[in-house]
Symmetry: C2
Subunit: 340 residues, 2 copies
């Protein structure tokens, strides 16, 4: 059932039927009802290929997926996707993932924009002066950055959490508890979020005249194994930290294992706070010692970004507003006063 058949059936022109269906004003309400009714009854759905050829609108949002045999997709992605999908579903938006060589994503961005394959894109895990952000900005396609880049001479729309504030609060708490030697097990410090977290820790320490020594900060991709390695390295030092802030729950698993292997205890010998993106399958309260966390649902972020993308596509949102969400500090059993 296509437009031609439907309009013929109604003894109306394609123009009128199209307009009736798309809510244009220049059509009699009575006629519109007839049309809408007939469309529903016959299960008419405009062919999206035809529509996009005519309008250029696709009803899809895009994401360039970095791939490669040695490239791992961030496990957070799936939670983000849950949120994104949840919103997208109720707005008939689809998501197209365009796999790209992790080392050359630009080609793919250019392609999807040139081909008008999607109405908008989002960018995640940005780095300072991220080329993708600059590119997408000049290409002129609507976009939202999940996280923040830095060092541009232009503004851009983003949704981020207050990573610096979160880790500042976490570190401040630890300092208040008497800890003097803090360590940070961070994610990849080429990414902005990691830089912000480190900055937050440093700022909290500085407020008490303390510093975060180079030997007390690790920056690694967020795996259990790396958490373990980092913790061992830190705890086997002569000036081992008495408290650790950790960028991920997955790494925290490794930290806990290392602590156990070394015959230490949490929180007796070591206080631990980790960032929790809220996974349904791994909860901080279920760690052998319930884990204190800085918590922010990445799923909510996904939903919000879908919402903003939809708003930008339909012209409801403009400008380059950045939003920064506060992060909860949830204190559980894994923190205590510094050992004597």
């Amino acid at each position: 059932m296509n437009l031609k058949q439907l309009s013929h059936m109604l003894a109306l022109s394609q123009t009128t039927v199209s307009r009736a269906l798309n809510g244009y004003p220049e059509v009699n309400e009575e006629t519109r009802r007839r049309v809408v009714d007939a469309a529903k009854r016959h299960g008419y759905r405009p062919n999206p290929s035809a529509r996009r050829l005519a309008t250029g609108k696709t009803g899809m949002i895009g994401y360039v997926l970095p791939t490669g045999t040695t490239v791992d997709i961030d496990p957070h992605f799936v939670e983000f996707l849950s949120g994104l999908g949840d919103y997208a579903r109720s707005h008939e938006l689809d998501l197209v993932l365009s796999p790209a060589d992790a080392d050359d994503q630009e080609t793919t961005y250019r392609r999807i924009v040139a081909n008008r394959q999607v109405d908008a894109v989002y960018i995640s895990s940005p780095r300072p002066a991220d080329r993708r952000v600059a590119l997408v900005n000049t290409l002129g396609i609507p976009f939202i950055v999940h996280g923040r880049s830095e060092g541009f001479d232009f503004h851009y729309p983003f949704t981020d959490i207050d990573n610096e504030g979160a880790f500042h609060e976490a570190a401040r708490l630890l300092v208040q508890l008497g800890h003097r030697r803090l360590a940070l097990i961070n994610g990849d410090d080429r990414e902005t979020f990691a830089i912000h977290r480190e900055r937050g820790v440093r700022r909290a320490l500085a407020a008490s005249g303390l510093v975060l020594g180079d030997q007390h900060v690790c920056s690694l991709t967020m795996t259990e194994e790396n958490g373990y390695r980092a913790a061992r390295r830190l705890l086997e030092q002569s000036d081992a930290p008495t408290a650790i802030a950790c960028s991920s729950l997955i790494m925290a698993l490794g930290v806990v294992r290392a602590v156990r292997d070394l015959g230490l205890t949490i929180p007796g010998d070591l206080s631990l706070i980790a960032h929790d993106d809220v996974f349904p399958w791994l909860k901080p309260e279920n760690f052998s010692v319930p884990l204190s966390t800085t918590r922010s649902s990445i799923r909510l972020a996904g939903a919000r970004i879908a919402e903003r993308l939809a708003a930008r596509i339909s012209g409801l949102e403009e400008g380059a507003r950045g939003e920064v969400w506060p992060v909860d500090l949830v204190v559980r059993g894994s923190v205590a006063g510094a050992p004597a």
Copy 2:
């Protein structure tokens, strides 16, 4: 730069240029070279919207993503995606995720087929007599099932791992080590993979005249917390098992925690084997006691399914061949002889 301009520039018809570019035979090789060359030089790329309107081909594969505020996307998905993306990238295929209400995916399948939004789809986590498989089969769109359904009067193409064989081997090993009371901590037993795994364990036990008691099998979604709960329930019974086969590494985390909470040890009091889908961020050899596993890379499966989908789209693959991959049994420190 569109076809019209390019053909005008070459003083050829659109027909000829189109055919030259698409490799049709009825064009002089010399002319083809000229065309291809000019196209490259001017960066001409056919508009996909136009092409799909004309041909119906989209260059995209589809996946219906079950969503909902209470629905969690399987964390395995991201690894699967890595593999899929890895293949898709090198073949200029995109993946479109169509979010659907988890309770009504059929509408979405019908939509993407009716709208010809994708050239093929894949289905994951199938259940016995899965309606999605039946639907997609009658709708006539090329598809591959990742996993298996059962109980149809038709055949369909799938790629699955030998879940039954894997758990059969695991259980057989445990029995050989003298274990008489085995337990199974399984995933959602409405899904085929879980049914097959249980069947494998039962078969191995039966071979030695043993049975898997109802009180010794748990079926839960695969979270750390559920692993913990299941393990506690099992181990606090009067006839607690001396060995557990577990369907996921994430659940195994919970099992290990429960064992520790109860003051037991692995493998002294309990032998443990889990299924490993091969995550980069959580490795069985890094468990406090290295974990024995049945191992099969879900990432490889993703790549294979992309390959088969591509083959079906281009007509290279036909029929309803199902492939079943063998699973490795990797023995590490978490298994030992049954306690006296």
